[in-house]
Symmetry: C2
Subunit: 263 residues, 2 copies
C-alpha cells in the first residue's frame, strides 16, 4: 500500500456488527486479526470466514491475553459492561472503542493505555466501501497510546484527526445537519413531487451535482436558489403553495440563507 | 446511439449561456445546429467553435427562417421580449424556451406550435456532464408540437416527462428543498465544524454515502439519526450545544422527522 514500515499488530475485535465488519476487514490487510467475538457465534463465524487466520468466539473468557490491540465495536450501551468484564486480562495492550458518543473514560482505572478509534461513516454489512477515504478520529489516554493508535489508523485510512469527546459531539451535531437533516429535506421533496405523481428520481442528477459542487467549493459559496438571490417574488409564490411544517421549514431556511448571505 | 430512426432537425439556438452551451452540444450529435445567437458575439463564437457547422450571430435579424426548431435559452426576464421580436419569422417551426419558471403562454398568439423544453439540472459552462441522464420536462401547445418536441428530446436524454407550468413550479419547490436547502444545511455543518477547526471534508464520505443510499431506497426509509430513533437524550444534548437560528432549525427538523416517523 506504499505506507511506511509497520510491524503487524495482533488484534482482537469485540463485535461483529456493521462497523466491526468493515473495520476488521480493512485492518486485516496489514495486521493480524487473532479473534472476533460476537454473542452470536454465527455472526463471528461469517465475518471470520472472510479474514485469514481469525477465530470466531462467543465467550468473553475465551479472549486471548496476548493481543496488542483490543477493539471494542459494539452497541454504545454495552461498552461499559464489556470493558468491566474483560479489561483486566491485559494491561499492557491498547484498548479502544469505536463509538462517536461514548466518552473515552469508560476505560479509566481499568487499563492504562486506551482511547477511541472512531471512523466517521455510516456502514452497512453488505455495502462495499473504500475504507481508505474515511476520516478516522482518535483520542488517547497517554502519548504512547496516541502514537500506537495513530500508527494503526494509518494502516487503513489516509486521514487521521485528534478529537476529544467534545469535538466528537460537535462533529456528530454537524453530521446530523449534513446527513440526517439533509435526508429529511429529500423526504419532503419526495412528498412534494408525489403530489404531481413525479418520481424522486427526477431530482437525483441535481442532488448529485450539488454534492459534486461542495467537493470543490465551500457550501456557502455553492449556495444558489431563490433565497440566495433574495428573489422575494419566487419565495412568495413558493410559500403560497406550501402549508403546515413544510411552509415553516421553507420560511426558516430561507431566512437563514438570507442572513448568511448578508454576513 | 441505438435510438430509433430520427430525421435530423435543423435548429437555431438563441442564447449561449450555461444551459444553451450544454444543450446545443448534446443536440448537435444527432441534429444540425444552424446558428447560435448571443448578444455578445464572442460567446456565440466560442460555443460554435465546438459545434460542426453552427454559425455564430449577434443580430436577431440574422436568424435563419428555415429552421425546424427555435430554442430560446436566455434569462427568464428576456424571453418575452425576444419572442416578440423574432417569432414572426417562421410560423411553421416549433418554438420552445428552456426555462423552468416562465409559462408556456409567452408564445401565445405569436406562433402555433410551441412549448417548453426544460432540463432539470444545474449547469456550468466548463463542467462536463452526462446530458443523457438529465430528466427533461416538456409542455406543448398542440399534439403535433408535443410529438416533435418529445422526438427531439429523446435524441439527447433517456427520461422525458410531461409537465405543465404548475408541475414545473411544484418541481422547483421540491428542488429548493432537495438542493438549495440541503446545501444550506451543509453550510451550517461547515460553521459547526469550524468551531473545532475541523475541515468540511471530514463530512464528505458521509454525505456521499447518504446520497448513494437514496439512489437505492426512498429517502423516508433511509432516514437515520437521533430524531429517527426518537433519542431524546442525544437530541437534548445537541440542543444544549446550539443557539440562535441553528437551534431553531435543529428543533424544527427534528420535530418534522419524528412526525413523519409516526405517520
Amino acid at each position: 500500500m506504499g505506507k511506511s514500515p509497520h510491524s503487524k499488530m495482533k488484534i482482537v475485535i469485540i463485535g461483529a456488527g456493521n462497523v466491526a465488519t468493515h473495520l476488521s476487514q480493512a485492518l486485516s490487510k496489514q495486521n493480524e486479526i487473532l479473534q472476533i467475538y460476537s454473542r452470536n457465534i454465527s455472526n463471528a463465524e461469517i465475518l471470520c470466514s472472510k479474514i485469514n487466520g481469525a477465530n470466531p468466539i462467543n465467550k468473553l473468557q475465551d479472549i486471548r491475553k496476548d493481543a496488542d490491540f483490543y477493539i471494542i465495536s459494539i452497541k454504545d450501551d454495552a461498552i461499559s459492561q464489556v470493558v468491566e468484564q474483560i479489561a483486566h486480562i491485559n494491561d499492557s495492550a491498547i484498548w479502544v472503542h469505536t463509538s462517536g458518543s461514548v466518552p473515552m473514560d469508560v476505560f479509566e482505572d481499568k487499563v492504562k493505555n486506551y482511547g477511541v478509534f472512531y471512523p466517521l461513516q455510516t456502514f452497512s454489512k453488505n455495502v462495499e466501501l473504500d475504507f481508505n477515504e474515511i476520516p478516522l478520529f482518535i483520542e488517547a489516554s497517554t502519548t504512547e497510546a496516541a502514537e500506537k493508535i495513530k500508527t494503526l489508523a494509518r494502516t487503513i485510512v489516509k486521514k487521521v484527526y485528534d478529537a476529544d469527546s467534545k469535538t466528537r459531539k460537535q462533529m456528530h451535531i454537524a453530521a446530523v445537519f449534513a446527513c440526517n437533516f439533509a435526508n429529511h429535506l429529500w423526504t419532503i421533496a419526495d412528498d412534494i413531487l408525489a403530489e404531481k405523481n413525479l418520481p424522486f428520481d427526477v431530482l437525483m442528477p441535481l442532488i448529485k451535482a450539488s454534492v459534486e459542487k461542495i467537493g470543490q467549493v465551500p457550501p456557502k459559496d455553492a449556495q444558489t436558489g431563490p433565497a440566495a438571490r433574495n428573489d422575494l417574488k419566487v419565495i412568495g409564490e413558493h410559500l403560497k403553495q406550501l402549508s403546515g411544517d413544510n411552509k415553516q421549514i421553507y420560511q426558516m431556511l430561507t431566512d437563514s440563507i438570507i442572513k448568511h448571505n448578508n454576513e
